[in-house]
Symmetry: C2
Amino acid sequence: MMAYEQLKLDNQLCFRLYTATRLTIGAYHPYLNPLGITYPQYLVMLVLWEQNKQPVCDIAKSLLLDTNTVTPLLQRMEKMGLVKRTQGKEDARQRIVSLTKKGMEMQEQAKHIPECLTADIIKKANEEEEYMGMIPMLDKLIEGLKQPNK
Amino acid sequence: MMAYEQLKLDNQLCFRLYTATRLTIGAYHPYLNPLGITYPQYLVMLVLWEQNKQPVCDIAKSLLLDTNTVTPLLQRMEKMGLVKRTQGKEDARQRIVSLTKKGMEMQEQAKHIPECLTADIIKKANEEEEYMGMIPMLDKLIEGLKQPNK
DNA sequence: TATTTTTGCATCGTGAACGATATAATTTGA
DNA sequence: TCAAATTATATCGTTCACGATGCAAAAATA
């Protein structure tokens, strides 16, 4: 049985994206484990540190995720004492998510993570420029594909 | 409260990788749904079409995954009638995974998926060269980070 | 050879992703 | 104004990822 050339794993861009993502998220573990949060939870923290008190839908929009992913994530984070969720005043459907004291203080502990991670990647895979060079392509890819989530 | 510049979502390479991956996998849905398989299952099929009859560990190695991810995946695929798993003869610990007739026939239906996907992405996000240009960088990134799974 | 270590596979538990669906509040528009 | 459509959130079920752990077979080593 012969594989079609185009079906070979080695010719798949998506498989590379998928693998690179998994491994890169794995590289965050040494820094996120001490904080007790996962990578998706870290992303939510980034969003809230940048802009506190947001309805669930805005957080979801920033992360290009649906609420059925974000809601349980926030529920776990609330249970951990990182955020609280209050009823919206103007729009009663909305749940406004805000950082607790603990959630705000975590920013200080997290502020070196990006540079640590860059350093780790450079050390293991060399050359920073190249990775940064991917950014415009990834952005274009995301922009083109993100329609469903508006 | 001010966010540190480096903690802004917009400065995160990994978030882009993560999002681009999710959206790209999503772009496979129109083609994988008719086959009744998921994207990770499609990856397993790619591996087996390229080389039938492999122990679980080899499949896992190809995909840079651990057996605790691959085993349940294969169990589901066996239940769907795509593969069968037999005891290894030389090494009794191994489970040899092979394609069923149904699994082999699926290759014919799948052979146009890569070009369809490329066409979709080009149509939505323009310019093929750029995405292909990411391949060497992703490979280097993967190579540098993949140590744990050997 | 006997013991230790490693390897291959499996199971369990947790946390995402995401399709499908539900519910209530808001908005639209006939 | 009142029904219909939309929006914001939540719940449920399934499938991945993956850490932790267990077990038996094989390999390494004393």
